[in-house]
Amino acid sequence: MSKTITIDGKEIPYEDGQTIMDAAIAADIYIPHLCHDPDYEPHGSCKLCTVNVNGRNCSACTFPALEGQNIINQSADLEQDRKRITQMLFVEGNHFCPSCEKTGDCQLQGVAYYLDMHDNHFPHFFANREMDASHPDILIDHNRCIFCNLCVRASQEKDHKNVFAISGRGMNKHLIVNSITGKLKDSNIHINDHAAHICPTGAILIKRTGYKVPIGERTYDKQKIDAVALAKENKHHGR
């Protein structure tokens, strides 16, 4: 008999070595997430995937699935907490969605729709962050970085390049580029690198592609993020 965990009263199977997130995705259960992508080493930093496991809060993307776990994923409390975390990400950076090329395709925005987020709630930080438009094909708008570390992981784990890193402490945290000048144009990134395409927000963009798909016909204009994520992430695992 296979091992099982319970999520919101539903018993689902898991295999040894799987995290709660892995098991949930395989069972077609969506747990909101931003810093997680099943193709990469889990990171556990955005905290959107916080679930309650036998009374304790844990990150579903890093916490191992274990026999006897009774997990709450959908509750009024957790949804409120996740909305607040998303709002924190919005006020920390500068997210002017209507003027962003990624609008409609952005996971941060998609999660905000999913969580019914109507305002930013918290006071804005108005961080002064610069843009790096130096590269001929790729643009970084630091205003939209949420420090999910996916570009860092993609560059290391898949492209074997180390183009990006997260630097600084606390609120001074920022993304840096591995080149003598610190500019993207002097790094060894290539337009076909995984790192150039993984960003869940509009922080790393490919130039001259922004409006190929018109606004209104984009990913999250048509479908909610839970359906998109499950379809994509499940397919990845060949299930």
Partner: protein, 594 residues
């Protein structure tokens, strides 16, 4: 550059876990890490330059821009504030003609704040080029200014400026008669491994770093891991404001602390240990190196210890100014030459710690106590204390009392007793137990006791009298956490800054009743969703004072029907400047209705 860096690399080797010591040496030579040095080190250690930059930008004591030839830092702990730190610092800035946070144009001197420097019993305190300065006052500052202007090397400054006292007022079971070097190890080899571990178990010893995990259990788990390469780490990061007992233990009882580490190594099967010493305790470095050398000479460290076939040695690694590096997994990351970001758990350090090998991380006091338990037996220790908290606890007492310093008490001692012993006056406002991450108790709770069952503590005990203001205290603590958050996870990185802003809004008089409710909601969020202990405790100062002193918050609120979140008139300042007018018509009154 290369000619300076090559010998440094030769000294430490090219393993990337040596990054911090290498950067420390470069920093002390050039007063910062020049870009050229980053390139050299990246090449030598074969790591991306981004790893070096991210490390420099993480630690408070590493800089990518030049600091003064005399780099002055003044401790920002609440106790320093209570001793007049702010006045002194302005005085210092004016005498040195430098602004706080800046480098003087001639490059001679820079002045800045630093989080608690571990000298709360002899503040106001500071650091010059990494060395602790104690008991700062105006005459001492005048003398320091003179020395700096005359370009006198720090090594030639009067030694009393750097005097760090132990201030032990009440030694107990452990402090009063330390063991002779080697005795615990001899007892260990005589009794055998299992029996020694049983003694530690019987003693009931729980970790003294705050969380209180049973020491014997931690050692047993580690020893049972299949992987045979194992490590012992002594956590001497001691960053919790108001704690300084580990400093005293290392200053006067280092042999016994090292003996405890060696004992642990013999039980878990480790050959290498680290003492992770906070950067602020640089003054102890040479002394501790000498003691390690002595122990090697007398066969208590190195190969074939006491001719029992045990091989073990200890290396000292200095921290670089980051409170989060006291968290055990962040400490391990730091030992590996990285930013101090707490790891995801599980796996725990006992199964995958340093270099992903099984590692025991214990507090200084834990190793110190364990060595004596190995000699005296578990029951000796267990006979003292309470049911769930055996033995004694060493406290670092500071704040409003006549004898700030070190006290050792059996667990179960009442707060009242402690206050009596250290000469605290009768007009107590409250006591911060366990530092900012612990609990603030009010004057009517002094019957409560020191114990894991009641008030757990890593040792920080700060006393406030009635002349102090609750909100000033909470503000200091809340700012501390915002400054020290590592920034890894959203609820802590953004949350601690939001807490700071929200609290400041209230303390500055721009808050409304709704703002207190919002503050409380935010506290719960940061507490419940943060990744590690820092975020999980960062809201404690606000939560414990909101509960006990709601009126202190209420008094600061605006009493108006509409509730503006900011000062309307002040927000027009830029517009006035641009329009070049300052007449009455250019000002807005913020109408108050009572």
């Amino acid at each position: 550059m290369q000619s300076f860096i090559q010998p440094v690399i030769d000294r430490y080797g090219t393993s990337s876990d040596q990054l911090l010591p290498i950067l420390r040496d470069i920093q002390s030579e050039f007063q910062h890490i020049p870009a050229e040095a980053i390139e050299c080190v990246a090449l030598s250690l074969d790591i991306p330059r981004t790893q070096i930059i991210s490390v420099i930008e993480f630690y408070s004591f590493l800089h990518s821009t030049p600091q003064g030839k005399y780099a002055l830092l003044v401790s920002d702990s609440i106790t320093d504030h209570m001793l007049g730190k702010q006045d002194l610092m302005s005085y210092m800035a004016s005498q040195l003609k430098v602004s706080i946070g800046e480098l003087r144009t001639d490059g001679l001197v820079s002045l800045n704040n630093t989080s608690c420097s571990g000298m709360c019993d002899q503040g106001p305190a500071g650091l010059v080029n990494g060395y602790a300065l104690t008991n700062l006052d105006r005459p001492r500052i005048d003398a320091i200014v003179k020395l700096i202007e005359q370009n006198i090397p720090v090594q030639q400054w009067p030694s009393e400026f750097f005097m760090v006292k132990d201030n032990i007022y009440l030694p107990g079971l452990l402090l009063q008669d330390p063991i002779a070097p080697g005795d615990a190890l001899k007892a260990r080899f005589q009794k055998g491994l299992q029996q020694t571990l049983t003694e530690i178990d019987v003693s009931g010893l729980r970790g003294r770093g705050g969380a209180g995990f049973k020491t014997a259990m931690k050692w047993r788990f580690c020893s049972e891991e299949i992987e045979t390469e194992r490590y012992v780490v002594c956590n001497a990061d001691e960053g919790e404001p108001g704690t300084f007992k580990d400093r005293v233990l290392l200053n006067t009882y280092a042999h016994q602390v090292f003996e405890g580490m060696t004992l642990c190594a013999s039980i878990i099967g480790a050959e290498q240990g680290f003492l992770y010493l906070r950067g602020e305790y640089l003054h102890l470095y040479d002394k501790l190196q000498n003691i390690l050398q002595q122990r090697r000479h007398s066969g208590l460290l190195g190969n074939n210890i006491l001719e029992q076939g045990l091989n073990f040695d200890i290396e000292i690694r200095m921290g670089c100014g980051a409170y989060i590096c006291g968290e055990e997994s962040a400490l391990i990351e730091s030992l590996e030459g990285k930013r101090g970001i707490p790891r995801n758990r599980p796996p725990y350090p006992v199964s995958q710690g340093y270099l992903n090998k099984p590692t025991v991380v214990n507090n200084v006091e834990t190793f110190f106590a364990a060595s004596k338990i190995a000699l005296e037996g578990g029951q000796w220790f267990a006979d003292v204390g309470t049911k769930q908290s055996q033995g004694t606890k060493i406290l670092s007492i500071s704040g409003d009392c006549t004898k700030p310093g070190i006290y050792e008490y059996p667990f179960g001692t009442s707060i009242k007793q402690v206050l009596h012993d250290c000469g605290a006056a009768s007009d107590i406002l409250g006591i911060q137990i366990g530092g900012p991450s612990g609990t603030f108790i009010a004057e009517n709770e002094v019957h409560r006791t020191l114990a894991f069952e009641d008030l757990a503590t890593g040792g920080s005990f700060i006393i406030f009298n009635q002349s102090r203001n609750i909100l000033d205290i909470v503000k200091n603590f809340t700012h501390f956490f915002a400054h020290e958050s590592c920034g890894f996870c959203t609820p802590c990185r953004v949350g601690t800054l939001l807490l700071k802003k929200q609290l400041d809004k209230i303390t500055e008089g721009y808050g409304s009743a709704g703002d207190v409710a919002a503050l409380e909601e935010l506290c719960q969020l940061v507490k419940n969703l943060s990744h590690c202990g820092l975020g999980q405790t960062a809201a404690n100062p606000i939560l414990s004072t909101l509960e006990r002193y709601p009126e202190s918050y209420q008094q600061r609120l605006k009493k108006i029907s509409y509730e503006p979140g900011f000062d309307l008139d002040a927000s027009l300042e830029t517009a006035r400047r641009l329009a070049n007018r300052n007449d009455a018509g250019a000002h807005l009154a913020q109408v108050e209705e009572d």
